[in-house]
């Protein structure tokens, strides 16, 4: 059996698995935002940066190799991940107390996990467009972290092509593939995975914002490590709320 070692713990892997796949299967949490099992790996958020033989690699895209020595939890890596999370906070407009996703937001949960206490860097305060045109789905680009989970979910699971990323650098932004560029003219459906997969509050289902009270939300009850390892799936949490 092929194995890799993460922080001294030997775990098995199968041919074709990434370090992230092997870690999740073995119940080891590596912080991540742009990764979701079932969707093609992306490697853009860089939160899952781990150390392999002195090199920084993304656990979600790096193939597991026999006898690989991986460092996942170290002071340096926690610092790197915290800084990356701070970068994500300051480049967008993330105002947790007024965001309806608070408590269910993975960015926020990761920040808690990493003991991030402030944004550290000066805010960019970008001007980004809100698209409230759709009857059931809201697109608030202020909170988008460009993880492309919605882009991939639409293409790979929903069999559509509703979202894309446009532009470059910090001007990169989420766009909608419809004649008007508005959600209402796209073929998105409120049951699509793309409408629900957003880890932050950028894509929201309208009229359900405060059904679960603050204090009883996913990350009020569980850490992001628990939820992402699937020990407590989001679905289960919803049942729990009910």
């Amino acid at each position: 059996m092929n194995t890799i070692t993460i922080d001294g713990v030997q775990i098995p892997f199968e041919e074709g698995q990434t370090i992230m796949d092997a870690a999740l299967a073995a119940g080891i949490y590596i912080p991540h935002l742009c990764h979701k099992p079932g969707l093609s790996p992306h490697g853009s958020c860089k939160l899952c940066t781990v150390d392999v033989g002195g090199r920084s690699v993304s656990a979600c895209t790096a193939a597991a190799q026999p006898d690989q020595q991986v460092i996942n939890n170290s002071e340096e890596l926690t610092e790197t991940r915290k800084t990356i999370t701070q970068m994500l906070f300051v480049e967008g407009n993330h105002l947790c107390p007024t965001c309806e996703k608070t408590g269910d937001c993975t960015l926020q949960a990761v920040a808690y996990h990493l003991d991030m206490l402030d944004g550290h860097y000066p805010q960019f305060y970008p001007k980004r467009e809100v698209d409230a045109s759709h009857d059931f789905i809201m697109l608030d680009r202020d909170r988008c972290i460009l993880c492309e989970l919605c882009v991939r979910a639409s293409r790979e699971v929903d069999g559509k092509d509703v979202f894309a990323i446009s532009g470059r650098g910090t001007a990169a932004q989420l766009i909608v593939n419809s004649p008007s560029g508005k959600l209402k003219d796209s073929d998105i459906d409120k049951d699509d995975l793309a409408a629900h997969i957003c880890p932050v509050g950028a894509i929201l289902i309208k009229e359900h914002g405060y059904e679960v009270p603050i204090g009883s939300r996913t990350f009020d009850l569980h850490s992001v490590a628990e939820t992402d390892l699937g020990e407590v799936s989001l679905k289960k949490t919803r049942e729990h709320h009910e």
């Binding site: 790996p41 490697g43 853009s44 958020c45 860089k46 939160l47 940066t49 920084s56 993304s58 895209t61 193939a63 790197t80 800084t83 990356i84 970068m87 994500l88 300051v90 480049e91 860097y121 000066p122 960019f124 972290i145 460009l146 092509d161 979202f163 894309a164 990323i165 446009s166 532009g167 470059r168 650098g169 910090t170 001007a171 990169a172 766009i175 909608v176 593939n177 419809s178 004649p179 560029g181």
Partner: protein, 578 residues
């Protein structure tokens, strides 16, 4: 898009968008929909490409659209200001009558010509204050570009020193004839034994690259020539494509026969569009003489080359981003592995080689590996074309055998009182005089060819800040550290140059630049912070001198924040400042 529905060149998305930009001075929402329909692409793909490449605009530009280079060598920002003042136009705001718009472009590869710009995509080299005055008159009179003085558009070679590649003439077809009776393995051995390494700077063995590609399982393979020479200070590919294009194309053809490819692409940076017509004519001549196309030289193999022209994106010099660009997408570097040699263009095995590498490959096949190997150092065989620019009396192309010292290059170029040299461009190394006895070679100072000289009158911090702006502008935006980090570093360098930084800001620059270097997705992020890191390492005194004080300075600058209020109330007086 699959191999079955590759477009002919005129229908390539980048070319269609260029034509539309020229015709309508922008790409309107309507044009995006029309083009998407015509090319059978998702509307979002067309929109995302328009917004990615610097030379496409969503808002109308002027009938004369002038982009001044902001490079430290071919930059012309003082001349830009002069033209703005003369024509009463704000940068990046098209004048109300639609006649003129003025903006900036990253290095346009005219560093040996001094101040340069692009007008409607055409290169204007060797600008001066007098030229700007004349230009302003021609613009106000609405004089067509065809009637502008032709000398303004002339681009010279400025070859100062010839070596292995440049010194002899080349007879098209001679290298192909030399390979005619040799097997693929023999050719691979010849290239490998010559010790040829990639001339883009990374230095991967060309023979190995070709072999990996040939041995990858596939019916289809591609050869791509990377002529997206975007590293500020580099212009050697310009000279090779201008005067040695047949060798480059023959190098591609040799590669194609060796790896069994039938289609090749030359990816030409948009800034070199002025060479397109000549290059197309050269390709046609090669076809007409049986050196390209069907059954080349009667050897029983087919190969042809298309040219794809970029549109202002440094990142497309990264081979997988370049491939994405040929595939009509944003230039986002792919996850590697798989490397292009196993999964490249349309997921087929692809060799991507630098212009200079391909020219050298053709010559190696012609003269044999001994000829090549006898030049250079033990780990760096052959010669290197250096693009020398900046503070020197003889800027231009210098071809040396590998192993030359920095000091020798400086002496040859007529550079005195040198404070620092940027080797390999902003993504390379910034060195001070204590390193001038070091050697240009892969095992010492590796370089793609950029060699920028700064004398003691230069403000090195301003140079580093210029490079930080460059990287923030050119970051593709895919990964968090590079997207956000390059902008933070740009802001940090500006704060320092403006005299507002403190000791804490220096620490921040160090911390952020290290993080960006080690956790970014591709080589751009990995190298983008080199100027800052080298600066802090080799010129710490320059940073410290510029600090406001060594204690704390608030991040929030109240006076700067009131700028908008002052503008609204039309107040510029002292009372309106803190």
């Amino acid at each position: 898009m699959t191999t079955e529905n590759q477009r002919n060149s005129s229908n390539h998305l980048l070319h269609v968008l260029f034509d539309e930009q020229q015709r309508a001075r922008h790409i309107s929402d309507g044009a995006i929909i029309t083009i998407a329909k015509k090319l059978n692409l998702p509307r979002s793909q067309v929109e995302s490409v328009v917004d990615f490449y610097a030379f496409f605009y969503r808002q109308p530009r002027g009938s004369f659209d002038i982009l001044f280079s902001n490079c430290t060598s071919c930059g012309a920002l003082d001349l830009m200001k002069q033209l703005c003042d003369r024509l009463n136009v704000q940068p990046d705001k098209t004048r109300a009558d639609g006649r003129i718009s003025i903006g900036q472009a990253s290095c346009i590869g005219m560093c040996d010509h001094g101040p340069s710009a692009l007008v409607n995509g055409r290169t204007l080299a060797t600008l001066s204050s007098d030229v700007i005055d004349d230009m302003a008159e021609l613009i106000e009179a609405g004089t067509d570009l065809a009637c502008w003085p032709s000398r303004w558009f002339q681009v010279g070679n400025n070859i100062r020193k010839e070596g292995l590649l440049l010194s002899e003439s080349f007879e098209p077809g001679s290298a192909l004839k030399a390979m005619a009776d040799r097997s693929s393995d023999e050719i691979l051995d010849e290239i490998t034994n010559a010790g040829l390494k990639g001339r883009g700077g990374a230095g991967f063995s060309t023979g190995m690259k070709w072999r990996f590609c040939r041995d990858a399982e596939s019916q289809t393979r591609y050869v791509v020539c990377n002529a997206d020479e975007g590293e500020p200070g580099t212009f050697k590919d310009r000279i090779l494509l201008n005067s040695h294009a047949e060798e480059v194309f023959e190098g591609m053809t040799i590669c194609a026969r060796t790896i069994a490819a039938t289609q090749g692409y030359l990816y030409l940076r948009g800034e070199y569009r002025y060479m397109l017509e000549t290059l197309e004519a050269t390709l046609q001549k090669l076809r007409d003489t049986g050196l390209l196309g069907h059954n080349i030289l009667g050897l029983g193999f087919d190969f042809d080359i298309d040219i794809v022209v970029g549109a202002g994106a440094y990142i497309c010099g990264e081979e997988s981003a370049l491939i994405e660009s040929i595939e009509e997408k944003r230039g986002i570097p792919r996850i590697r592995p798989p490397f292009p040699v196993t999964s490249g263009l349309w997921e087929k095995p692809t060799v991507v080689n630098n212009v200079e590498t391909l020219a050298a490959a053709a010559k190696i096949i012609l003269h044999g590996h001994d000829w090549f190997e006898s030049h250079g150092t033990w780990q760096s065989k052959g010669s290197k074309l250096l693009s020398v620019s900046g503070d020197c009396s003889r800027p231009g192309i210098y071809e040396y055998a590998f192993g030359i010292t920095v000091q020798q290059v400086l002496d040859d170029a007529g550079a005195g009182d040198v404070q620092a040299v940027q080797i390999g461009g902003p993504a390379g190394k910034l060195i001070g005089s204590e390193y001038f006895n070091r050697h240009i070679a892969f095992e010492d100072l590796a370089t793609g060819g950029s060699f920028m000289i700064f004398n003691r009158e230069r403000d090195i911090l301003a140079v580093i800040a210029n490079f930080s702006h460059f990287f923030a502008h050119e970051s593709c935006g895919f990964c968090t550290p590079c997207r956000v980090g390059t902008r933070l570093l740009k802001n940090g360098m500006d704060k320092l140059c403006n005299g507002h930084a403190t000791a804490r800001d220096m620490k921040e620059l160090k911390h952020t630049s290290e993080l960006v270097a080690c956790s970014s997705h591709c080589g751009l992020g990995a190298t983008a912070t080199n100027p800052i890191r080298d600066g802090l390492k080799h010129f710490p005194g320059l940073f410290e001198e510029r600090l406001l004080h060594k204690e704390m300075e608030p991040e929030f600058n109240l006076d700067a924040s009131l700028a908008e209020a002052r503008a609204i109330t039309d107040r510029g007086d002292a009372e309106a400042h803190l």
